[in-house]
Subunit: 127 residues, 2 copies
């Protein structure tokens, strides 16, 4: 999915960038399996780049910069569709995932269920 | 899914409440259909109440208060499982949904795809 810059600009005008650093929340969901892969933030520019290139871009809250997902790993996430929530402050991005989204090598960042997480000695320090 | 207060307190100790009002992001996903229903925020107390009661609770960013999902509508969301992301600042809550999560009456808050959203004259004003 790819749209023109004019259309992307119309789209962002309708969103509510209410979260940290003027962002919306973006949930990446595998278009085929429906697995939730990760949650990130997008500012206006990240949404526009995502829509105009067809590749997922985020705003990194930690590094305070725009970020093409997969730019170092090659694991790009291709946009197949977008849904918007009722108040316009969150998006689901349906993707074709060209490789694991997680820096741990897991397909999804949500690779631990409750039990695994409670057993995991690294806990929140695993970054 | 329900755990003791002691276990819930251990769980929250391991999370990273980095988002607005010291919250984690919670993605509600239908345990059966895998549909993403909504995105909300949970502070420590909301996570603890969710875990100890088995009913989804949020921290409302707008109203600045704890909120039992379904307390007015009766559409409670029952917790069937929880996954945690790699840096502990986001959760997937797998739920059995006792009714629509959205105030619009839709099963999911993400009821509009890109095309519907662009056509929707109410846009972000629909709250």
């Amino acid at each position: 999915m790819k749209v023109s810059i004019e259309e992307a600009e119309k789209f962002v005008e309708r969103l509510w960038f209410r979260h940290t650093d003027s962002t919306v929340i973006a949930v990446l969901q595998d278009a085929k399996t429906k697995e939730v892969l990760m949650v990130g933030h997008m500012n206006r520019e990240a949404v526009i780049r995502t829509l105009t290139t067809g590749y997922v871009h985020f705003w990194s809250l930690s590094r305070k910069k725009l970020w093409l997902k997969g730019e170092t790993s090659g694991n790009y996430q291709i946009v197949e569709g977008i849904n918007v929530d009722c108040d316009g402050d969150a998006l689901i991005i349906f993707v074709k995932s060209l490789g694991p989204v997680c820096h741990t090598g897991n397909k999804s960042c949500f690779y631990r269920n409750y039990t695994d997480f409670m057993k995991d000695v690294n806990g929140k320090k695993e970054l």
